[in-house]
Symmetry: C2
Subunit: 346 residues, 2 copies
């Protein structure tokens, strides 16, 4: 199997996508073709044997072969005497975190151009990338979330009880997120959040709440679960901490929880995954309080694909690549246009 | 102003998009460039002076100039001696109903390629195209909807109370929708619905419920509302009836309702529109029962752009085209990659 890994993208998480993608070389045993999307929305074919993060920070990647995404594949550009050449890949893996990757853009581009890919489809992106929409979605599939208030830029924001946690609705990796302990800290935290997005949610900050992460995908109708991990955390994971997480390749430790709680978390995961997330390997982060499970967030393109949560990651990816949802074939006939023409006498 | 109208698309509503787009010639007083997306996902430039529905049913459109959507515009293909030429347009109007238009695909393609357009953005598409997600979204913005049950293809479906209305979650224009009056009719109606989608919702069918349609867009922060119409309907609008609606260009009659109810409906519309729908002119269809307003559905690309609900449609479109949401500029620097390189000594 040849796997095309798409990474980079116009996103606040552009850099962590690079680190995340490079980590795949060590955990998937297939031929990888790296496809980088740069800040100008140009695609480049990056040689697998020489890929390293410095290639991007130095702009050296611009010496690599440019690619165009067109029908049925990525193509080199035609030269004066050369025809466009198609990059060979059987299936693609979307590894762009944040914008372009988790917001539905690349899913739309790949679907439009008829390419098979591992990753969240358009709808799955929307309900996970936007934290406000995640709340509504979780409610629809009967999964609890922490109480919240939703504000847009021009709203009057009155908060009485502290501490709270403020989150821009559309950013991952804790970007723009602040824990606010008192009224005095509020204005600055709001400025920070609104710098990244025009809408935010504010939740009560629950100290000492237990957090558990679980990753999975559906393969031929059955869930392939990872272990459940209790992530190491400071007050909350800030960007620097999470960033280092994206390069993780060593296997994590299973959380020490009851069989019963484990099952409860898995049931909630299944409710979230539903049919929306088919084709994707996702990680859900849950809170547990008084034995009640709450969804914190859905990572539809998790850092380093959450490989460290699986003992058989290589196998899972290979099986998933053969169990991707098919696009429904829509037949276009002109029955109604013909009917109208007849009725109008045109 | 030159307006590029994008229509067609791989969609069960491909044909009605054609009719809808052609209707624009009579109601918008600008230079129009018609861009047709055919069933093979090829774009064609259709001359405005000769456009008619038969061009498409007869496949004659294939003689028109092919276009490629690339960075900053639609381009003709390079010939042996000719360079690609850009189609001039100041702003685009998404007029694809259903798949490709209302599901976020074209929004992603236009955003990716940096084109200004009137139409729903990705998130707005997801929460309106999928009726199940619409329910969750309406709940989040405090708008009531009719009770429902959600089923996917393999679920056991038990219905006790009839009549019910069965809807595939992802289709507009009443495609695949049935009113089921008794248990005996259920199986056939389910087969029909699941032929179009792998998920459905089932609602109680409320006979004689009042229905009201309202269209609007936000221009420079202010809502520009249409009149509220009480649509003519048989038991419910089937595809044929709705289809003819897409060619409507004569102004509709204002519903005879109290000022109070009018305000209530507008408030619900505003809650739905929120910031998600900025850039789009949408039509919301509401039910009213016992003075309570329920959202029935959101049409993010309404038939013939709901021009018949406005007395000043031409002006609204022109003003909206100058009040489109801007994409947030994301600066990519390599701060973290550099930090990691330093810490690893690489």
């Amino acid at each position: 199997m040849k796997l095309g890994i798409i990474f980079g993208g116009v996103s606040y998480e552009h850099e962590i996508s690079i680190v995340s993608a490079i980590a795949m070389k060590d955990v998937i045993n297939v031929q990888i073709e790296y496809i980088f999307l740069d800040e100008n929305r140009d695609f480049y074919h990056i040689p697998t044997d020489t890929i390293k993060s410095k290639l991007f920070s130095s702009s050296e990647y611009k010496k690599c072969q440019k690619l165009l995404l067109q029908k049925d594949g990525f193509f080199t550009q035609a030269g004066f005497l050369s025809k466009p050449k198609k990059l060979e890949a059987d299936v693609y893996l979307n590894m762009m975190h944040g914008g372009d990757g988790e917001d539905g853009v690349i899913a739309s581009l790949l679907e439009f151009n008829n390419l098979d890919f591992i990753g969240p489809r358009k709808e799955a992106c929307t309900v996970s990338f936007n934290k406000f929409l995640t709340k509504g979605y979780a409610h629809s599939v009967n999964v609890k979330t922490i109480d919240y208030k939703y504000f847009t830029k021009d709203d009057e924001i009155l908060i009485e009880d502290f501490p709270v946690i403020i989150k821009p609705v559309r950013l991952g990796s804790s970007i723009g997120v602040s824990v606010v302990k008192s009224k005095e800290e509020l204005e600055y935290a709001l400025d920070v959040a609104f710098e990244f997005d025009d809408a935010i949610i504010i939740e009560p900050f629950v100290n000492g709440i237990k957090e558990y992460n679980l990753a999975a995908c559906k393969i031929a109708g059955e869930f392939e679960f990872s272990i459940i991990e209790e992530p190491q955390k400071a007050e909350f994971l800030d960007f620097d901490k999470k960033y280092l997480d994206f390069a993780r390749t060593s296997t994590a430790l299973k959380a020490d929880i009851s069989k019963e709680l484990e099952e409860k978390i898995k049931e909630k995961f299944k409710a979230i995954y539903n049919t929306q997330f088919e084709g994707a390997l996702i990680r859900c982060d849950f809170f547990v309080k008084d034995d009640e499970v709450y969804l914190n967030e859905i990572n539809p393109v998790p850092g380093s694909m959450a490989n460290y949560l699986f003992s058989n990651f290589d196998e899972v990816i290979k099986k998933l690549s053969k169990s991707l949802p098919k696009t429904r074939k829509i037949l276009i006939n002109y029955e109604y246009v013909n009917k109208i023409q007849a009725s109008k006498g045109k």
